[in-house]
């Protein structure tokens, strides 16, 4: 790890985002609009609306960051910039952690705006603190970044990259407890749900929703999610090759 190179790479990725105001606008506005839709669907504020919004605060950053990162990494590959970077002093870890940090910053902005909308406009009610909620949302976004970077190694084209969404992301959404509570699922489905990292992120959000103070379960969930983020980035670095055929 070279901090100057890591810092320059974070700045470079954020500059690329900054030059794309349409993407920034969509990242910030779209979650709020979708939560408004949920608010209307469930007939205004109430416990059900609140519990769905809570999960959505984790899902939006997860899905959006997964998509953005896998496409961004694929662009590096296809434009030849990745090959060029591999001839420079940058380490594979520097590059991938730079993506993690830069998109983590973007996710923090996104999650803060989304949480503010949920609390102020759509009557989200949590027993725990809003700051903790945003922290979990950012961790969930980083989970999307890590998985996106890892999956981009297995996609050769944008078409393939986009189709990794139904393969990698949608099963996690189905089994995370949003549609059917996890403890009401059949045993084998619970077992599958137990090995999917998004389940822990959603569980952490629900812990904040139900408890005024951070619980032991909450910390366990966060450790699992954080571990998956690190593992995703490290695996992605391991699949990156300086030499190609």
């Amino acid at each position: 790890m070279n901090t100057a190179i890591l810092g320059a790479s974070v700045a470079r990725i954020l500059s690329q985002l900054r030059h794309d105001p349409r993407t920034i606008a969509m990242m910030i506005v779209v979650p709020g609009v979708l939560m408004g839709l949920i608010y209307a669907m469930f007939g205004g504020a109430g416990p059900t609306t609140s519990s769905v919004l809570l999960i959505m605060l984790g899902l939006f950053p997860f899905v959006i960051m997964f998509l953005i990162t896998s496409i961004a990494m694929l662009r590096e590959r296809q434009s030849g910039t990745l090959e060029r970077l591999m001839t420079t002093r940058i380490g594979k870890g520097d590059l991938l952690f730079a993506y993690g940090i830069a998109f983590g910053v973007a996710a923090a902005v996104q999650a803060s705006v989304a949480a503010a909308c949920a609390y102020l406009l759509f009557g989200l009610d949590t027993a725990g603190s809003a700051a903790l909620l945003v922290l979990i949302a950012v961790m969930t976004a980083l989970l999307g970044v890590g998985l996106g970077l890892l999956c981009s190694a297995f996609a050769r084209t944008e078409f393939q990259a986009v189709q990794l969404l139904p393969v990698v992301v949608i099963p996690q959404i189905l089994l995370c407890g949003l549609f059917v509570p996890r403890d009401e699922m059949a045993g084998w489905l619970q077992a599958v749900s137990d090995v999917l990292p998004l389940s822990y992120a959603v569980d952490a959000l629900q812990q904040v929703g139900a408890n005024a103070d951070p619980t032991v379960t909450l910390w366990r969930d966060l450790i699992v999610v954080g571990g998956c983020v690190i593992a995703g980035l490290a695996l992605a670095a391991a699949t990156l090759r300086r030499r190609t055929a």
Partner: protein, 284 residues
């Protein structure tokens, strides 16, 4: 004179195709070496082997005394790929600054590099909004920004007008005079004349390794275009005793079998219409 690059018995295969076939050559330090050859001859592959991003089957590539791609070479080699690999959603100067940091240079060096490639007036423009020629000059700026000891350029002057080409070659020459080793692939014969040494490769083997003057003398012509036509014709009929690569001396039929040009996946090569391609047709 020291050799900056020593390639020994290099074999690169891609799928069923042998892209480089036991190729050996040397490139002198502080000189401009031109790499020439028809589309699909293996120019880009050889360049990728030199900068250490090509997976090789066997053989060695030594760059500045170390195996190609070594960690301590990474700050000393500047590489311009054939596709201008810079970030289209950053400005020219932002790109140069980023690659300056990677090379261990500062922001002032980034500004100088942008000026040197003639992009001073558009340095705050997004690269994606530039013309093709400007785009590839932005890419060049990112390679020279750290004043590398070895500059590897894959067709850097494609799409440049004659005035700019003149300026770019003057800057390559100046760098060589200051001790930089320059390896440049090209298919423009006018540019080949400006090199100190020429490597002509065809079908993954070396056809000529000489000064432009000597290449012309051997072929008995004063025109480099004609000289290459002649050398390729001789190699196809096995007549040139100085050919380094015995595989090329095989009968033309065997040669064609081994290197089916149309199936060569070296797709970066887009130098259609260059004279060696015409030569090949003339020779067969």
């Amino acid at each position: 004179m020291d050799d900056a690059i020593i390639v020994t018995d290099l074999v690169v295969e891609r799928g069923m195709t042998t892209v480089l076939d036991h190729l050996s050559c040397r490139m002198p330090a502080g000189r401009i070496t031109g790499l020439l050859g028809p589309s699909g001859a293996g120019k880009t592959t050889l360049i990728r082997a030199v900068v250490g991003v090509q997976f090789v089957r066997s053989g060695t590539v030594t760059v500045l005394g170390r195996p190609a791609g070594s960690r301590d070479l990474r700050a000393r080699v500047g590489y311009v790929t054939q596709a201008p690999s810079v970030y289209s959603d950053l400005t020219v100067l932002e790109n140069a600054r980023y690659f300056a940091t990677l090379a261990g240079a500062d922001a002032a060096a980034a500004r100088r590099a942008v000026d040197e490639v003639g992009l001073k007036s558009s340095r705050d423009q997004l690269v994606g909004t530039l013309s093709g020629g400007q785009w590839s000059r932005a890419s060049l700026a990112c390679a020279i920004v750290g004043d590398p000891d070895l500059l590897v350029l894959d067709e850097p002057t494609v799409g440049q007008d004659p005035v700019l080409r003149e300026e770019l070659w003057a800057s390559f020459r100046q760098r060589a005079d200051n001790g930089t080793t320059v390896l440049v692939s090209s298919h423009v014969m006018d540019e080949a004349n400006r090199c100190d040494r020429l490597l002509l490769i065809r079908g993954g083997g070396l056809l000529a390794d000489d000064t432009p003057g000597e290449v012309k003398r051997r072929a008995g012509t004063t025109d480099l275009d004609q000289a290459f036509l002649e050398l390729i014709r001789r190699s196809a009929s096995g007549a040139d005793e100085r050919d380094v690569n015995p595989a090329i001396d095989d009968s033309g039929g065997a040669h064609r079998l081994r290197h089916p040009r149309t199936h060569n996946p070296d797709t970066h090569q887009q130098d259609s219409g260059d004279s060696p391609v015409r030569t090949r047709r003339a020779a067969s």
